[in-house]
Symmetry: C2
């Protein structure tokens, strides 16, 4: 019998009561968000048409190190949290590695992922401010489900613009969002100017996250008492998701452990940014020096192959511009790409940390990802989301390196969610029909050519 | 802030190390299983062609009160257990009830239900005895998934006979079972004599649990080194599932609580039997006197409207006969019935307890069940399996009675699983297309007329 338990759950008393704002400890801050009309740094007021005030404040506040989690949000966290920190004994044994592998499992809630952590916070602040409805977009569907759950709880009507290809391929995701009482509209749609424009040019357009964001933002700014909320990329989202890393760190301290390597999948950065936050604080403040590895799909390689530049957060170019690693706001991954991690850009905070050499990145091909996912399911009993399996892939690879070198490193990775709604992709893999795709430099250049030209800022 | 936490997880040290065998405390035992060839009580040897020896022993052992959980099974339990005991604060508040509502949530594992608890035990004993493959049947799919997970872990090839209508309506269930490496065959099939016979009479037969059991048993007894395993009904399954009740009782003791009412859904009885076991022990030994409520679908009312009689466990009539509440082994619920809880009979242990007045039963219609499920999802964030929602329905009804009377009763119910693979049914409910069905007495008489005539035992 092992002394370290397989699963460690914090008690309610041990759960964090504050989120951690990583920006407060960054030596150099990310470049500011720009108002596209003035090319000046966006002020809180500039964001009010899109975000509620509390969230606009959190978006721009780079000073407050710890932010109190409102009591009502803490109460809701307790309904499904804490999430377990799991020691992957079975995986270690199967790999024959001396490495100690831990994972923080965020999939044990109906949204199937960590997304609920920020959804609850954003719905709470909107309700507090007297807003009467919300809009958002969803791709793979975890975020739409999470926000529908949060809005059902706070009695806020919600409209979800769902990337059309997902809407059609994932009827059960749509059904679950419906069950929580939200409206789901396939995007591009004729309910917005942005959608109508895209459909006029291409009636068969299958949608993208960037387009769905454009539609959701437009709907929010043109509807009384309505605001837009986003499940990733933003600073506020990384703030809320710091609960993942904070809980992980408390749990590891209880076990007298500290990670040598922290690994997370990276799409917009919500999970990775949340998971690494308190460990990155240690690095930035000189208390420890763990390695951080962001894992992204080879088919959507914003960090590994993107440009570090100002870009729009949406395809319709109506949002503020952010400095981030980006493939261009019109980028869409190839149709054979399964699951999420399909956003064209990356969290400005994570982009800056990567740019400053604080973080490594790896891009992996999806057949390798599903190979790891299937092995993991059989050994650890959890069927991972394709997104999460990117982190599994690299955790396994690092553990195998330890096997070669004989080093007993401590690896922590984020298992963000479950794959129940991704069985089409699993079936393709099981039947040997899954393919890989790596965009050529020429493919990517198309997106780079369309990056905004900003006189005096970027040419 | 409440003193009793929302979620209580036992530590590994607190987890039970023995299962509890309810039969050891029953004043009067269930009538013995009969060998259909001799009409004599089945002996262990009689069961060897079907079950491995350790499980045949557990099936008939009504003396050993506590059975050690093998170390290897305990280790696997720790990979996904303990399951949380959850205080439904949000539900209590929404109902405005003085009742305290607790639920034991068994859905936080990839099988999506409590079924994994027995699957691991059964796969372990089979492997220990040197068996080289297993067969089973699955209806809604939880059991097939659970056993596929367990067999993947213990490296045992598995063939799952899946009720054809489920196989066709739930391609993702099939896909997940495949992912864990098991074969899935739609039943009735032409791979067995039993299947061929049914298909000859009715080529469009959409299958039933009883038929799938016949096929799986036939395959097992005609294949070297192969045995059959079953996820419900059997005494051995209730033994393994006692982990649910044992954990619940320890957790409630830690909170200084004891249930006035214990509620569980009842199909074959695996969850209900496991959940109530240690509390029923208290009742049988005079230590406490909680109420027990078995909830079943009005469309498959084996306890509320069945006959207490000897019947076959399968449609093909090749298994031993058990004395149980039954609708007749050829009974199939109407096609509009969603989810599991569709077995024609009921665990002999539970049947006897009910017959002896130790337990109440309620039959509920499925639109009422989905009404409760949807409300529960919005309030407690968990999307329940349709099966589990039967228990929610009655827990809500009992809590509302407390609201009327002002009694602060303590209610414990079993939330056996999640509904991710039941979105077709949820969609039907959301769109107002779900219908109810209550068989007429004449409908049921057809099944009763076919109960076996056993000279000197039952006419």
């Amino acid at each position: 019998m092992a002394k370290i338990p397989h699963r460690l759950y914090l008690t309610e008393d041990q759960m964090p009561k504050q989120w951690y704002n990583l920006r407060a400890d960054m030596k150099e801050l990310p470049d500011p968000m720009l108002n596209p009309a003035t090319l000046q740094p966006a002020k809180e007021e500039d964001l009010y048409p899109v975000f509620c005030k509390a969230l606009a404040h959190q978006e721009l506040d780079d000073k407050t190190r710890y932010v109190d989690i409102p009591d009502e949000v803490q109460e809701m966290y307790k309904v499904y949290r804490p999430s377990p920190l799991i020691r992957a004994y079975n995986l270690e044994k199967a790999l024959g590695t001396p490495a100690k592998i831990y994972y923080k499992f965020e999939g044990n809630n109906t949204s199937g992922s960590h997304k609920l952590n920020s959804a609850i916070a954003q719905a709470y602040y909107a309700k507090e401010e007297g807003l009467t409805s919300l809009t958002t977009e969803t791709g793979a569907g975890q975020w739409g489900t999470a926000l529908a759950e949060a809005c059902a709880y706070f009695h806020l009507p919600l409209t979800v613009y769902m990337v059309k290809v997902s809407y059609e391929q994932k009827p059960f995701r749509k059904a679950i969002i419906h069950t929580f009482g939200a409206d789901v509209i396939p995007s591009p749609s004729n309910t917005t100017e942005a959608g109508r424009k895209i459909l006029a040019a291409d009636p068969n357009n299958s949608g993208s996250l960037g387009t769905a964001i454009s539609e959701a933002v437009e709907k929010a700014v043109t509807t009384d008492g309505c605001r837009y909320v986003l499940g990733s990329v933003l600073n506020q989202v990384l703030l809320h998701q710091s609960i993942i890393g904070l809980e992980s760190k408390i749990a590891m301290e209880m076990l007298d452990e500290y990670p040598d390597i922290v690994i997370g999948c990276a799409g917009g950065g919500s999970n990775l940014g949340g998971l690494i936050a308190p460990f990155m604080q240690d690095k930035l403040t000189g208390k420890a020096d763990p390695r951080f590895i962001a894992v992204e799909p080879a088919s959507c390689p914003s960090l590994t192959r993107g440009k570090y530049a100002y870009d729009f957060c949406d395809t319709g170019k109506i949002t503020p511009m952010a400095k981030m690693y980006t493939l261009g706001c019109e980028f869409k991954p190839s149709p054979n790409h399964a699951g999420g991690l399909r956003y064209h850009g990356m969290s400005p905070i994570l982009s800056k940390l990567y740019h400053d050499g604080c973080m490594e990145t790896v891009a992996v091909e999806q057949t390798k990802v599903f190979e790891a996912a299937t092995m993991f399911a059989k050994i650890e009993t959890i069927l991972p989301a394709p997104e999460s399996a990117h982190a599994i892939r690299v955790a396994v690879d690092e553990a195998l390196k330890c096997k070669e070198t004989g080093e007993a490193k401590t690896i922590l990775f984020g298992l963000t969610g479950t794959g129940y709604f991704d069985m089409t992709a699993y079936t393709a893999y099981n039947e040997g029909k899954m393919t890989d795709y790596i965009p050529t430099d020429a493919d990517l250049q198309v997106g780079f050519d369309k990056l905004p030209k900003l006189p005096g800022i970027q040419e």
